[in-house]
C-alpha cells in the first residue's frame, strides 16, 4: 500500500485523516498514485491537478523522502521507500500563507 499525506483542506473535503493508504495496480508513479487517489476519493478530482489540462495546480507541491518531486513528470517512478510504504508521498499546499 502506498501512503499519501494530504493538506488540511483536502482532508476535510475528503473526510479523512492526514494520511490515506492506496492500492496502486499500475507501476507506482506520481501519475498512477494521483489516479488512484482520485478514484478512491472522487471529490478530490480537480483539487490537486486541473481536470481539463491535467496540470498540477500552481499552489500544490509533491514531496517524498526529503526531496521535492513537484516538477517531475507524472510518469516518474516513485522511490522504493514510498512504494514499500516506509515513506509517505506528501501532497502539500505551497507555502503562501503570509
Amino acid at each position: 500500500m502506498i501512503r499519501v499525506q494530504l493538506p488540511y483542506h483536502l482532508q476535510t473535503l475528503a473526510r479523512v485523516g492526514r494520511e490515506v493508504e492506496l492500492s496502486v495496480e499500475a507501476e507506482p508513479t506520481i501519475g498512477s498514485v494521483l489516479e488512484a487517489l482520485e478514484t478512491a476519493y472522487p471529490m478530490l478530482r480537480g483539487t490537486v491537478r486541473d481536470q481539463v489540462s491535467g496540470r498540477r495546480r500552481d499552489f500544490i507541491r509533491f514531496f517524498a523522502c526529503g526531496q521535492d518531486w513537484s516538477l517531475e513528470a507524472y510518469e516518474t517512478p516513485l522511490p522504493e521507500a514510498v512504494v514499500a510504504g516506509r515513506e509517505p508521498f506528501r501532497i502539500v499546499g505551497a507555502m503562501a500563507g503570509g
Binding site: 483542506h9 478530482r45 495546480r57
Partner: protein, 371 residues
C-alpha cells in the same frame, strides 16, 4: 409561522442564519467549508432545502457542494467546468490578449421550475448549466461568441456574476459580466445579444459607443415585471424598461453613483435599493457613513436609510452579491460587508440591526423565505 434562512458566503467559509418570521432573534450555523472562499450559495425555489454552494480556493480550485436538507449536511458534486471548444483569447488589463482560463464559480442560479437544473456563472466569464443537480456541467458557448475577444477583467476578475431567469419565459435569460456588460438570450441560452445600449463608460473605454466591455456590477428585476431591469454599473445606476434593449441613468440625487449590489423590494416593483460607495479607487462609503439608499420611484429620487447603521468611521465595502430581500410582509432587506457584519431590516429598510457582527469578509448574501 414563516421562517427566514439567510445564506452567507464569506472569505473563510459559509454561514447560515435562521430566524422565525419576526426576524428578531437569529441563530448562526457554520462555518461550513471552513477556510475556503464561498463565493455564493443559493436555494432552489422549487425545493428550498436543496442548496448549492460554490466553494473555491486559490490552492485547491473549485468545488460545488449540494445540500438536500437545508444546509445541515453537504455533498460535493461535479466540479468539471470545461469550456466548449477552443475558448480563444480575451483582453487583459493592459490591452493585450490572454487565453481564457477557468478560475472559479461566482454565481449559482437554480431554476425556478426544475430542482435539478442550475446555472453557474464562471470566471473567466462563461455560463454553465447542470440538469442533474450539479453532477455534470455543460457550457452554453454561444455567450462567448458575442465579441468575447473584447471582454476584459474587472478588478475582481473577468467574472459572470449575475444570472436572471425570467419567471414568465423559461427561454429568456439575462447575465452580466465584469467587464463585458449585460447580455440576453431568448432561446434558453443558445444564442445571445449584448444589451448595453445607453451605458456610458467613457472613463474606462475609448469607444463611447462600445457594444461590449462595460463594467456592469449587478442587475436586479422584480419577478412580476421582468421587462424592467435595474443595474448598478461601475459608475451610474441604470434602468431599462424594455428588457435591456436600452438603458437610462437613474442615479438622481445619490451621493455617489458607484457601488456594487442593487435589489428590488419583494412587493413593490418600483422600490429599489443600492449602497453608494465613494469611488472605484476607495471602495468605502462616502463620509464614512454606511447608508442604504432607497428609491420608491424606480430611481432618480433616493432617500438615505441610516437607522441602526454606523454613521461615522465606517470604511467597509458591500460586494455585488451581498444584498438580498425576503418575501415577508414587511419586506426584509439584508446585506453583508467586507468587515464581516450582516445587517438586516425587517421593515423595508426603515430600521436596521446587525444580525452577525464578526464573520469573515462577506462575499454573498441570499435569503430564503420558508413556510
Amino acid at each position: 409561522m414563516s421562517k427566514v434562512r439567510v445564506l452567507v458566503g464569506t472569505h473563510k467559509g459559509a454561514f447560515i442564519l435562521t430566524s422565525d418570521g419576526k426576524r428578531q432573534k437569529w441563530d448562526i450555523s457554520g462555518p461550513h467549508f471552513a477556510g475556503w472562499d464561498v463565493y455564493h450559495m443559493h436555494g432552489s425555489p422549487v425545493n428550498p432545502d436543496r442548496l448549492y454552494a460554490s466553494q473555491t480556493s486559490g490552492w485547491f480550485g473549485q468545488i460545488i457542494q449540494r445540500s438536500d436538507d437545508g444546509g445541515q449536511t453537504w455533498q460535493p458534486v461535479g466540479n468539471q467546468f470545461g469550456y466548449e471548444g477552443d475558448p480563444g483569447m480575451h483582453l487583459f488589463y493592459d490591452g493585450s490578449q490572454r487565453p481564457w482560463e477557468f478560475k472559479r464559480i461566482w454565481r449559482l442560479e437554480p431554476s425556478p421550475t426544475e430542482p435539478d437544473t442550475v446555472y453557474a456563472g464562471a470566471e473567466d466569464a462563461a455560463l454553465f448549466r447542470s440538469t442533474d443537480g450539479g453532477q455534470t456541467w455543460t457550457e452554453l458557448p454561444g455567450l462567448r461568441e458575442v465579441k468575447g475577444h473584447l471582454w476584459q477583467p474587472g478588478a475582481g476578475g473577468m467574472c459572470l456574476h449575475t444570472i436572471l431567469l425570467d419567471p414568465a419565459d423559461s427561454n429568456r435569460i439575462f447575465v452580466a459580466i465584469s467587464a463585458a456588460g449585460a447580455f440576453r438570450s431568448e432561446d434558453g441560452g443558445q444564442s445571445w445579444q449584448p444589451i448595453n445600449q445607453g451605458l456610458h463608460s467613457g472613463g474606462e473605454l475609448p469607444d463611447p459607443g462600445a457594444e461590449v466591455g462595460h463594467c456592469v456590477h449587478n442587475i436586479a428585476m422584480h419577478p412580476s415585471n421582468p421587462n424592467v431591469l435595474f443595474m448598478q454599473k461601475h459608475w451610474d445606476v441604470m434602468r431599462s424598461d424594455d428588457s435591456g434593449s436600452s438603458w437610462r441613468e437613474v442615479s438622481g440625487n445619490l451621493p455617489s453613483d458607484f457601488g456594487f449590489p442593487i435589489a428590488v423590494h419583494a412587493h413593490e416593483p418600483e422600490t429599489i435599493y443600492v449602497v453608494p460607495i465613494k469611488s472605484d479607487s476607495e471602495h468605502y462609503p462616502p463620509e464614512g457613513k454606511l447608508r442604504v439608499y432607497r428609491s420608491r420611484t424606480g430611481g432618480n429620487d433616493w432617500e438615505p436609510l441610516t437607522k441602526g447603521l454606523p454613521q461615522s468611521d465606517c470604511y467597509v465595502n458591500i460586494l455585488r452579491s451581498a444584498m438580498a430581500v425576503d418575501t415577508l410582509d414587511k419586506c426584509g432587506i439584508y446585506f453583508g460587508t467586507t468587515g464581516g457584519q450582516v445587517y438586516a431590516s425587517a421593515d423595508s429598510g426603515d430600521n436596521w440591526s446587525a444580525i452577525a457582527s464578526n464573520l469573515p469578509a462577506v462575499l454573498s448574501v441570499e435569503v430564503q423565505t420558508l413556510p
